[in-house]
C-alpha cells in the first residue's frame, strides 16, 4: 500500500511538473498563438488532488505523535513549505550566477519569479511554525538561531525584491539584483545548518530520515503537492516577469526619438 501510494504520488508530481514546464515554457511561450492553459489547469488539478490526499493522510491516516499528540500534524505543511522556499531561493541563487556569466532576460525573469515565490513560501512556513510554537513551546516567537536566521534571510530577500522595484533601467536592474542575490544567497547554508551548529529549541531538520516511518509517506505526498504548487507559481510569475520585461525593453523604440541624440534633427 505504502509503496504503491508513494509511486503514484511521485509519478503524478514529476509528470505534471515536467509537462507543465515543457508546455508552459517551451511549447507555448508568452505571446505565442498556442495556449499553455491546459497544462497549467492539469497541474492545478494534480496539485489539488495530491493536496487533498496528503491532507487526509496527515490529518486522519497517520498516528498522533507520542508527546505532542495531534499538534505535530502541522509538519505536513510547515516542512514542505520550508523545503520549497529553500528550493526556490537556491534557484534564484543559480539564476543570479548564470545571469552574470550569460545575460538573458529569461534567466532574469526566472530569478525574479524564484525570489518572490521563495519569499512567499518562506513567510508561509514561518507563520505556520509560529502557530505550532505557541502550544508546543508556549511562545509564538523565540530568538532561537534557526528562527532568527530564517527571519533575517527572508528580510534580505525583501530587500532584493525592493531593489527590483526601485531600479527602472532593466539591464542595470538585472545585473545589480544578480549581485545582491548572490550576496544574499550566502545565508542559505547558515539557515540550513543552524539547527545542527547551535543545538537549541528548534529540532533538527524533519526529513524522511528523521521522522517516524509511519509519517514518511504523508510527508512525501504533501511535499510532492507543494512541489507542483511551487512550479505552478514559478511558471505564472515567470511568464508575467518575461512579458513585463519584453514590454519594458521594447518600449523605447516605440517612443518618439530623442532629438538630442540626433543633432541633425534639431531645427
Amino acid at each position: 500500500m505504502n509503496t504503491v501510494l508513494q509511486l503514484v504520488s511521485t509519478t503524478a508530481a514529476l509528470v505534471s511538473v515536467a509537462l507543465g514546464i515543457y508546455l508552459g515554457v517551451k511549447w507555448a511561450p508568452v505571446g505565442s498563438r498556442f495556449n499553455a492553459r491546459p497544462a497549467l489547469y492539469a497541474m492545478t488539478g494534480a496539485a489539488v488532488a495530491l493536496l487533498a490526499l496528503g491532507s487526509w493522510m496527515g490529518l486522519v491516516w497517520t498516528p498522533p505523535e507520542r508527546e505532542m499528540g495531534h499538534v505535530y500534524r502541522i509538519i505536513y505543511v510547515h516542512v514542505p513549505a520550508m523545503w520549497m522556499a529553500m528550493l526556490a531561493l537556491v534557484l534564484n541563487f543559480g539564476c543570479c550566477i548564470a545571469y552574470l556569466f550569460k545575460a538573458s532576460w529569461k534567466t532574469d525573469a526566472l530569478a525574479e519569479a524564484a525570489a518572490e515565490v521563495g519569499l512567499l513560501f518562506g513567510t508561509y512556513g514561518l507563520v505556520l511554525g509560529s502557530i505550532w510554537g505557541k502550544p508546543t513551546w508556549g511562545v509564538y516567537w523565540d530568538w532561537d538561531p534557526r528562527l532568527t536566521a530564517m527571519a533575517i534571510m527572508l528580510v534580505t530577500y525583501v530587500g532584493y525584491t525592493a531593489l527590483r522595484r526601485f531600479v527602472e533601467d532593466p539591464e542595470k536592474r538585472a545585473v545589480w539584483s544578480s549581485v545582491v542575490g548572490i550576496i544574499s544567497g550566502i545565508n542559505m547554508p547558515i539557515v540550513w545548518k543552524s539547527v545542527q551548529w547551535w543545538r537549541s529549541l528548534h529540532q533538527v531538520q524533519s526529513t524522511p530520515k528523521t521522522v517516524d516511518p509511519d509519517m514518511v509517506l504523508a510527508l512525501r505526498v504533501n511535499a510532492w503537492a507543494s512541489l507542483i504548487l511551487l512550479v505552478l507559481f514559478l511558471l505564472h510569475r515567470y511568464r508575467i516577469a518575461l512579458a513585463t520585461r519584453e514590454a519594458e525593453v521594447a518600449l523605447p523604440s516605440a517612443l518618439p526619438t530623442d532629438t538630442r541624440a540626433n543633432p541633425s534633427e534639431v531645427v
Binding site: G159, A162, F166, V167, K172, V175, W176, I182, I183
Partner: protein, 231 residues
C-alpha cells in the same frame, strides 16, 4: 606614464584612496556630520533607556555598534555621491585602473572613517555610560577594525548600487541591515567582552566569526564589484 601601460592594483588603490582622503580632508563636512550624528545617537540611547548607569554600561557594546551602523549608512551613502555629482565615476572607469581598485579604495576609505569615528566615540562612552575598558586598547582596536571592515565591504557594494537607484536613502539600509546582523552581533559581543573582561576566553570565537564574515564579503565584493559599476 607611457600610454597603454596600466597601473598595478595596489598602486591604483593607493592613488584612489589618497584622492578620497584628500577630498574628505578638504571639506571635512562628512566627518563633522558623522561625529555629531553618532554622538547624538549615543545620547539618545541614554535617554531612551533612562539614567540607569549599570544598564547603560552593560549594553554599551551594542549601543556603540548601533551608533556606528547608523552613522555608516550616512558615510556609505556619501562615498558614492561624491563620484555621482560631476559624473566622475565615468572618469574613473575610463582611467587605466582596475574596477576592483575602486572597490578596495572605497571600502578601505569607509573602514578608516568608521574606525576613526569609533575611536572618537570611546571617550564619550566612558563619560556618558561610565564604562571601563577592562582589556586594554589592543583587543579594542582589533574589534573595532574587524567590525568596521565587516560593515564596509558589503556596504560599499550596496551603496554603489543604491546611489544609482530610485529611493536610494531607503534602499541602502534595507539591503545592508539584514545582511550584517551576524557581524553586528559578533562585534557587539566582542566589545562587551573587551569592556567587561573575558574570563571564559570567548573573545577568540567572536573574532573568528568576524574574520570569516570579512573574508566572505571582501572576497565577494572584490569579485562582483566590476559588474556593479559597468555601464
Amino acid at each position: 606614464m607611457r600610454p597603454g601601460r596600466s597601473i598595478s592594483l595596489p598602486r591604483s588603490v593607493g592613488v584612489l584612496l589618497a584622492k578620497d582622503l584628500l577630498i574628505e580632508w578638504r571639506t571635512r563636512a562628512r566627518l563633522n556630520a558623522l561625529v555629531f550624528f553618532a554622538l547624538a545617537t549615543l545620547l539618545l540611547f541614554s535617554f531612551a533607556v533612562g539614567p540607569d548607569t549599570k544598564l547603560l554600561a552593560r549594553n554599551a557594546g551594542g549601543y556603540l555598534w548601533l551608533a556606528l551602523l547608523f552613522a555608516s549608512v550616512l558615510a556609505l551613502g556619501e562615498s558614492f555621491r561624491v563620484e555621482q555629482e560631476n559624473l566622475t565615476l565615468d572618469g574613473l572607469r575610463l582611467a587605466p585602473a582596475d574596477a576592483r581598485a575602486i572597490f578596495l579604495s572605497k571600502a578601505v576609505g569607509n573602514t578608516l572613517l568608521l574606525v576613526a569615528l569609533g575611536a572618537l566615540l570611546i571617550p564619550v562612552m566612558v563619560a556618558l555610560y561610565g564604562v571601563q575598558v577592562a582589556m586594554g586598547p589592543l583587543p579594542f582596536a582589533i574589534t573595532l577594525l574587524l567590525g568596521c571592515m565587516a560593515i564596509s565591504a558589503p556596504g560599499t557594494v550596496y551603496s554603489a548600487i543604491a546611489s544609482n537607484a530610485r529611493a536610494r536613502d531607503v534602499l541602502l539600509p534595507l539591503l545592508l541591515f539584514p545582511l550584517i546582523i551576524p557581524a553586528l552581533l559578533a562585534a557587539a559581543k566582542a566589545t562587551a567582552l573587551v569592556l567587561q573582561g573575558d574570563p571564559m576566553e570567548q573573545l577568540g570565537s567572536w573574532y573568528g566569526l568576524l574574520s570569516g564574515f570579512n573574508l566572505i564579503y571582501w572576497g565577494l565584493g572584490f569579485a562582483l564589484f566590476p559588474r556593479v559599476i559597468e555601464d
